[in-house]
Symmetry: C2
Subunit: 185 residues, 2 copies
DNA sequence: TCCCGATGAGACTATAGCGTCTCATTTCAT
DNA sequence: ATGAAATGAGACGCTATAGTCTCATCGGGA
């Protein structure tokens, strides 16, 4: 049952930390229906648990991202599929907003930078395909995609939108915005 | 010096909490170049300081929001001006992302709900003017505006974009998206 | 059936950070 | 110049929580 317990703790930590970024080990253990000592047996420390949870989030995001990119023929389509995939995997990384102490973990921070850099490359390639309006800086494209993914994940988590609906809306918004007509060139 | 000190502490708390959501009173006092006891004299407790900071953020957001709305003739234009104004005021509320314990303060939570509800009303009015694409749910319009404002504030804070540029880009993205052409009706 | 590894419960320690208090020093208004 | 108010420095106690350890219990496989 070792593996099942470990996974259950990670799952519980994700939901507990999402509710309260400062959730104690007691809270997490209770959420997982597990003794507090068991948490320490598996992860050594609270920081170790957070690291494991973040690694899981990064690995899962990488997995769905690469899988999505593999099915695309153009960079623009890859951008679309990757965006959809990340929105769908929102539950895995949403807790990261909260756990600020993870910024100090060099390994985690590096992985985050790498993912942003991969997204930046993808945006650059889509721009060369003519998909991105020339006057929009790449930094803003990346930042706004990030913001929209965040908004979509939250809306899904709050039950305001379904996953598929949110995936569609994010891409629609990226591609077309929200308005009926092109305004102000 | 009472007022200046108080304001200096609030300012320092904002930047310190932005760096680290769990910043201690010691950190904040050091940032403000003020004795720790002075912080307690002015705000009574750490929670009191956070409350005061959040109230200040809410009040400032209300102020710029109302001022912007007063200059608009249509709801669509009001939405544009309000969005710009809130992006410009980003420094005042960005720390809120971090301070999760504020969600428990009923007063703060209520004010946040009120601001979201006002934005929802504004979006509804803009929709009646034909600005919003009918197939996009209002909840997503509000959520994505929120996400883009958040992304813009962060980009400005990180020095990636200038304030005016960020304000323009947020609205461009809301109105037109990022792509060169309308894709997929 | 028996045994071993995993678990739960809980006692215990150590530490970080909050909040209080005191006293000397500084600053400001009159 | 003088007194009152504000401040800085730091000692002190208290509580919450991380982390360790022990022991009893449980459950599945030989």
């Amino acid at each position: 049952m070792a593996l099942a317990t470990r996974e259950r703790i990670l799952e519980a930590a994700g939901t507990a930390l999402l509710r309260n970024p400062n959730a104690t080990v007691d809270h997490i253990a209770a959420e997982a229906r597990v003794g507090r000592a068991t948490v320490f047996r598996h992860f050594g420390s609270r920081a170790g648990l957070l690291r494991a949870l973040a690694s899981r989030a990064i690995a899962e995001t990488d997995r769905v991202t690469r899988q999505a990119a593999a099915h695309a023929c153009t960079a623009t389509d890859a951008l679309r599929l990757v965006t959809r995939a990340v929105v769908g995997a929102g539950e895995f990384f949403r807790f990261l907003d909260s756990a600020a102490e993870l910024q100090d973990e060099p390994e985690i921070a590096a992985a985050y930078r790498r993912q942003i850099s991969e997204l930046t490359d993808l945006v650059g390639a889509a721009r060369r395909e003519g998909f991105i309006r020339p006057e929009v800086p790449t930094a803003w494209v990346v930042a706004s995609i990030d913001g929209l993914i965040w908004a979509a994940s939250r809306a899904v988590g709050d039950g305001e939108l379904g996953v598929v609906q949110a995936q569609d809306l994010v891409w629609e918004t990226i591609a077309n915005g929200l308005s009926t007509e092109r305004t102000r060139t």
